[in-house]
Structure formats: structure tokens, C-alpha cells
Symmetry: C2
Subunit: 331 residues, 2 copies
Amino acid sequence: MSQRILTAHGSGGKLMNELINKTIKEILGPQSIQLDDAAILKVNSQIAFTTDSFTVDPIFFPGGDIGKLAVNGTVNDLAVMGATPLYLSCALILEEGLELKVLKDILNSMRQAAEYAGVKFVTGDTKVIESGKADKIFINTAGIGVFEKPAQRHQIRPGDKVIINGPIGEHGMAIMAQRNDIAIPNLVSDCAPLNHLIKKVTAVCPQGIKFMRDATRGGVAAVLNEIVQQSPFAIKLFEENLPIPNEVKGICEMLGLDPLYVANEGKVVFIVSPECAEEAVSAMQDVKEGKRAAVIGEITEDFSGQVYLETAIGGKRPLPMLVAEQLPRIC
Amino acid sequence: MSQRILTAHGSGGKLMNELINKTIKEILGPQSIQLDDAAILKVNSQIAFTTDSFTVDPIFFPGGDIGKLAVNGTVNDLAVMGATPLYLSCALILEEGLELKVLKDILNSMRQAAEYAGVKFVTGDTKVIESGKADKIFINTAGIGVFEKPAQRHQIRPGDKVIINGPIGEHGMAIMAQRNDIAIPNLVSDCAPLNHLIKKVTAVCPQGIKFMRDATRGGVAAVLNEIVQQSPFAIKLFEENLPIPNEVKGICEMLGLDPLYVANEGKVVFIVSPECAEEAVSAMQDVKEGKRAAVIGEITEDFSGQVYLETAIGGKRPLPMLVAEQLPRIC
């Protein structure tokens, strides 16, 4: 077998069959790419369905790679809906010339991430693009999750707390550091699945969780703006409570960025009723992905539709939706 | 709004929200891209789940475009499993600089194809790649279908008939003609959804359908090889029954290709019990996608594991699995 991807690996003949059966299927698991065109699955009557394409550059970065990201990103989209992620698809767009070893490393990373998150690959697709018309590898993962109980929505109210499960800005800044050849010890992507953490928190506060969303592209600020932009409420963040690592602060200052707008890949923002806040934080701190969970803000009635930061001495700074984040291909 | 795609359209800020809400969502339908990260769907207990990335070059071709292809390809993957396709995702990878008009034309084509096939877009994702690192647009559609009755498998036996719903080789040759600037009147892609046709045929022959598969990359020959390669049986095709249009024959001869290895995008190969063959063909001929359906071969016991062609005068020609088809980016 060739040690690099050839266009023939994508054109429906023996080489493609070999790549699928001897490489992809062997690594991702026997169910991964069925002989048939689709997987047959048994599910509950209510499912969650999501899709995400991953095009991160570079494909390997401190704390992860495009494969780990592709698994966790889709797992997280399902988990924040309150669903239990079960099944993933794996659609690869490969650039001709990609080293087979690189593909295998990424597939192995996908398998490990899937095992840790508790999901299975059940169907897939592989396309090859001639050299120079794609960038190494793009991965699409679609996912299906089931609801163990029906999805519920509770009304957000003033006084509700904003909680995050740990440090802000690590994924985006780890990518930017790598892309700019800046070595920063201890700065690694936070790429992680959030389903275990969410399961724990929702078990503790079944009625108190008003909203969950992973803070990816656009960062914490984008998620919070989406929550309040059509609402009569505002969100106030307490500057001194924000868990922003010094490494993230440092490189953000160098590059002129605000950590609140930087992508995370293992962070979920919760809005919870005030009675539940303490229990929720402590439930998060019980799992690996939530060790440094903290209340970072609250829902208020002033400045309706806005997100703003309150400093220790009472100063206020608006955090509007940006026209464009300055970090392309962060995921 | 810019008339071309900018990297900022993919980076989580206002421009991305505008693109999603004012362009994608407006064209594909209000359900298309939910505010939340995943769609919540009500389904049967047994579903089919599939994914396909589309990277066809050129993106517009006689008889269709990448958008129509992306809808029909995924609809067909579900339909050949015996499922009723219901929900699609739409994940776009856009090259910076793509004209917004081109994107809108493709999205409109997706909407039309979805309406005709009877499926809805329920979730999506958009990424932008810097100019020169992708090729205009790649589309991934994952799909979910439901089983109106449990999926069944009946054993293939000698004497079973091989049926196809119409002309062979049109999609691949329409693409190749376009790519090589050869104008061939009447040669258009067969890109079409197969779910309506399959529903009709399975209603007529509920027990007689042994196998269905759309003959895409690798063509009819690849599908037939997959059926018999692990089996004690062979497949004999009757050369004079093969519906190969003269336009396809002509350009295949010019390019040194065999139409049986050329991709189709609206053709399904059925294996049916001999009692059902006539009814199945006539049921197909009742719908637009099956007007020229024909019995093209049968299951035999000689040459086990092989596919071969029998000529009018009794000559035999093997149709092995090719190492590589010579048509990259055909879908």
C-alpha cells in the first residue's frame, strides 16, 4: 500500500476499499464503515442530530489534533442539548499526498476520543482531493444522541447564575501559539468531551439548569450574546471571577485579543437558578473536565440585550458581538 | 454584505450569524440551522444514519450541481437501505472568495432537491478556508431515515435477476465532458432521488427485493463486485440488455473508459427474485426515475465471486474490481 494518499484512494476501486477496510475500519472499529451505505440504529423516539466540519490548522496542536477535536466537538453539541451522545459518522476529505501515517495517527486519536466519550462510529465516507485543492485533511462528524428523558426548557430569570467549567481561551491560544511558532509551556488546548460532566450536573440539578452551550468559535462572549440578544435581560460578568490562565492572558496581550472572544473546545457555559449554583459547581469539580468550575456572572435586568463585564472596582465594559473574530480555522 | 465569502464568515461573529440567518437559513428553510447546536427530532425506534461529503469538480454540470448532488446522494444512501429519508444536515466548507451568488444558487438547488425528495434540513455548520486551501465549496450532508417496517434481508440465490432503473454512465460522463470542455447534446447527469422509485418497487414486491444499492463511484461494476466478492455466486450481465446511451458510449470510447465503471447518481441496482422481476421493472417504469428500467443480468453459480459480461454471441468478459477508477472528484 502506498505510504501517501493517492487520488485513487477516493475513486471507488480496490485502493479505496483497502483504505476503508484495512485502515479506517480497523482503527475506528468494526462498525465504523459498514459495507452498506448507512447504519441501522435502534434509538429512543426523541433524538438529537448535529453536524460539524473540522478544518483546524495546524492539524496537530498542544493538547490534541483535528481527530480528537472532531469527536469532542460533535459529542459536545449533543451533550449541551441534554442528549446522551451515542453514534458518530466520520467523513474524511483527504488531500492527495497526505502521509498515511498522519491519517492513521488522526484516526487513532479519534478512536481514543470516542472511547473516552462513550460513542461509536457507525458510518463514514472518504473523498480525495488533488494536491493543492484542499489542506491535508478536513473531517466532518455528524452525531446522534438520545434523550434519557424529554428535553426541557426552563425560563431564564434575573438572578440566575452564569457558570463555566474551567479556564477560558486555552484552545484558541494553543492553536495561535503553535501557528506562530511560539512555545508556551503549560498552554494546551482544553479539547475534551463534556457529556460526562453535563450528565453529573443535570443529575444534581434536574430543574435548575436553564441553558447550556459549549463556548467554541467566538468564545464565551459570543455564546452569552446569543443568549441575551433577543431577551429583556442582560448578562453581567464578574471580572475577578473569570478563570483566565496567565499563559492565555500573556499571548492574548501580545496578539491584541480578548480571551472572552477566544474559542474553547472543552468549556460549557451554564445558566442555572441561584439555588442550584453551588451544587452545580461542586458537581462539576468532581469530574476531570470541571476541576476549576466557577460562577462567573449573573442575569440582570439593566442594559437589556447586552453582555458586560464588571471590574473589581465597579467599572463596566461592554462585550458586544464582534463582526468577525480574528482567528480563522480554529476548529 | 460582502458579495464574496470572507474568512470572517466562518469565525463565529456577526458576519457568520448574518450568513447563516440571512442566506443559508432563509434559503434552506426556517428549520435548517437552529440556534441550538443540534436538532431535536421525533423518530421511530429504528433509524438509518448516513454521511457523504461532496467535492465534485466542476460544481455546476449538465443536469445538476454540487447542491443537488449532495441532497440526492444522501437521500439515496438512506433509500437503498429501505429507509424513508426524512432529515438532512448541511455542513459547508467554503473557500474564501467564493461569490455569494454561487453559494445562493447552490443552496437554492439544495432546497429544490430536498423538496422534491421530501426531506428537510434540520441542522448545519459553516466553515471558511483561506483562498487556495480548498476548492470553492465542499458540502457534507448526513441523513436520517426511518423504517416504516423493520429492515429485512432475503438470501440471494442463483436465478435472481439484476435490474437497473435506467441508463448507465450519464453522471460521470457529463462531468468528464464538462471538465474537458466537450459539448455533448443530450448528455446530462442522471442525478436524482431514488426514494420515490424504491418505495414503489418495494410496495409491489415486498418479499422479492434481495438487495438494492445506488451505483455511484466505481459504477455498476463496483456495486456488483461488492455483492458477489464474498459469495459462492457470480453475476452474469447480458451485454445487449445494458442501457448505455450512445452519448456515453461515444465519450467513453474517446477517453478509453468502460461505462460499467462510470459513476451514476440516480441509478440503483436491484437483485430480485425471478418471480418479481417483471412486476418490479414495470413498477419502476411508472415513475420518472425508472422510465427505462431493465433486467440486465442474473445470479449464476459458475465463476463464483466474479462479475462477467456475456455478449450476444455467447462470449464472456470478466468485469473485475478495478484498482482505481480514473475519474477523481466525480461526486
